[in-house]
Symmetry: C2
Subunit: 372 residues, 2 copies
Amino acid sequence: MIRTVSTPRKHPPERRRPGTVSIRDVALRAGVSIATVSRAVNRIPTVDSELASRVWKAIDEVGYLPNTQARALVSGRSRLLGLIVSEITNPFFPELVQEFETLATSQGYEVLIGSTNYDPARTESLMRRLLQRNVDGVAVMTFGVEEDLVKKLVEREFPLVFVDAGPNLPNIHVLKVDYGEGIRQGVQHLAALGHRSIAFISGPLAQRSPKVRLDAFLKSMDELGIHVPAEHQVEGTHTMEGGITAMEQLLALDKLPTAVMCSNDMTAIGALHALYRTPLKVPQDISIVGFDDIHLAQFMLPPLTTVQMSCRSLAVAAIEALRAGIEPDHPKARQKEWLISTRLVVRQSSTFPRGSLPAMSHSAQQRHGPAR
Amino acid sequence: MIRTVSTPRKHPPERRRPGTVSIRDVALRAGVSIATVSRAVNRIPTVDSELASRVWKAIDEVGYLPNTQARALVSGRSRLLGLIVSEITNPFFPELVQEFETLATSQGYEVLIGSTNYDPARTESLMRRLLQRNVDGVAVMTFGVEEDLVKKLVEREFPLVFVDAGPNLPNIHVLKVDYGEGIRQGVQHLAALGHRSIAFISGPLAQRSPKVRLDAFLKSMDELGIHVPAEHQVEGTHTMEGGITAMEQLLALDKLPTAVMCSNDMTAIGALHALYRTPLKVPQDISIVGFDDIHLAQFMLPPLTTVQMSCRSLAVAAIEALRAGIEPDHPKARQKEWLISTRLVVRQSSTFPRGSLPAMSHSAQQRHGPAR
DNA sequence: TCACAGGCGGCAAACGTTTCCCTGCCCAGA
DNA sequence: TCTGGGCAGGGAAACGTTTGCCGCCTGTGA
């Protein structure tokens, strides 16, 4: 016969970690029902304040911590956010991770971090993990989105945040980084110093963001009517190694550029290192400008002139966009695009080209004059 | 009257994310019970192979992914590991995080990363978060454990992994880094080159690991019968800024040391930067030796001689130790200590002191001879 | 004093699993 | 043919919450 009456289990398996306290213990102690405890914990205003304080007292006494998985199971929201970066070992990303994490946790979210390392298999498993853990939303901060990854995420109707570009669908938010502004400032800064021969070391051009940065550079140069010969566009890898290799390529040219802009700071740092090995001095013989403004940049020798893209703004926007997607009545639920501005930070790796005495103001000359 | 009979709820709240499939859907499709699906998914061998393949087919067809929170709720194991580091922006840690994450996820665990930033409030909230999420174990890789943090964790009887030292309790595993070996190699390397005046820039000595490193240095020096004057022991912060400041302190001395060992690579890099600003050349005028062997070290100018502490070994040991603590019948469940070795990596930031012509073999002279 | 309204708080369903227990089937042995 | 044993698979309890529904209590107005 089928057992229809509730027969209590003989040997309930021992699972609870010692010291774990459930809502039931609190309810018992406070002399209320578990429903009331739950409502008190969630600060539902209908619960009587005297009762609530009794509950809070009990919570304190027994050391209760709500079980997140049970919460997530019933509420359907895990309060987990996914953060996908290209490679955690690139110094830009830890800074971003740090900001993102600080903000997320202060708002009651936990962060699962994944690093794709540009490896499709890794990305694939990362996606599966995020789906299984039921993340509430994912920020894809890879600066070069893999198409199939996007598709997988999109069909689950996840709140998603991309950088630079993403499919135009509901629930997809895009952080539009205004590369143009910062890069134009950089180019104009160099041009004002008298540079006419400016090379660009890009990132891997198969990815979207490096491509956009290169285009912004070319556009700015074009606006000034300066031609960029093909040999002055070198493809790097957004790593220090790539910067070294690319700079060596430039050094092998018959005619060196007088300035080099780089698609990110690690590339610029690589370029500096390649130059240290030559008799050439930075900035007197060649000016270097980076992009990102990572922490390391200001400690370079000379301190790196670079275009700042604020990690903090990126993180703030990403979290806000995600929450807008997660919470149906968020004030900005309809907003699709979030603008991130960039701006030039002038340090000492850029000055006027040797031999040229540009028409510049006294103060500018002081500021950009050769260091040491 | 109290409702005792199961009255179906009128308006069940809509929670499931579209596209989400539960075990019930699979069971329906395969024409089996959910118990069988569960058993098939968990590869319980008693389930008939024909049935199992029908279940797997159904899983594939409906795109089923097990819900981790439900699993965790019932099994009492979240398959989440906590990883606590001091500061994620210190380049050593991302490398560690990367290794740890790769290993953990390949074994079916997810990683929650927390960065204490040496801030007790941050640490406190971090602990609460980890407890709420019900992590199966925590690796505390901060190289300087806050005592109250330890206590909190210990009383929950968590599997815990510490670096260097931890309370001697069940469930607590300690990764013993053999600083002595690597640091002795470093000191002997310098001594063999002819150095007798070797300074040490330590980390923050309030923390345990920096203290141990300093002691290892002093012990090695003592073994060689070399006295270390107090002014040759400078306290840094394990950051580049700290390295710069500490090196400047050394530079202000009447009599410079001929070599400087540093408690970590970032400090050494800071020291290099401080030296770049002087006429002194590394390694001809002063030798610098780091500790950690972070990725950046080999790209310094000159490439940094340093003591390697392998991130990979640390991560491997940490994960293995955690699993030993989590899984009751793990082969190494009883092992308390895990040894991590260190070794010197000679690059080009160390050579014989100027003016001294040490008795050394021809090959050694070639190897350590002044670069450039 | 009674009727009624409003709101606090308790009961129990539901979330998606795992796993205990038990049934029913199959097969071997007598 | 009957009995017994082994075992595959199904039913349902349990994990710790949130939340819909409803009862009871209190307060107000006639």
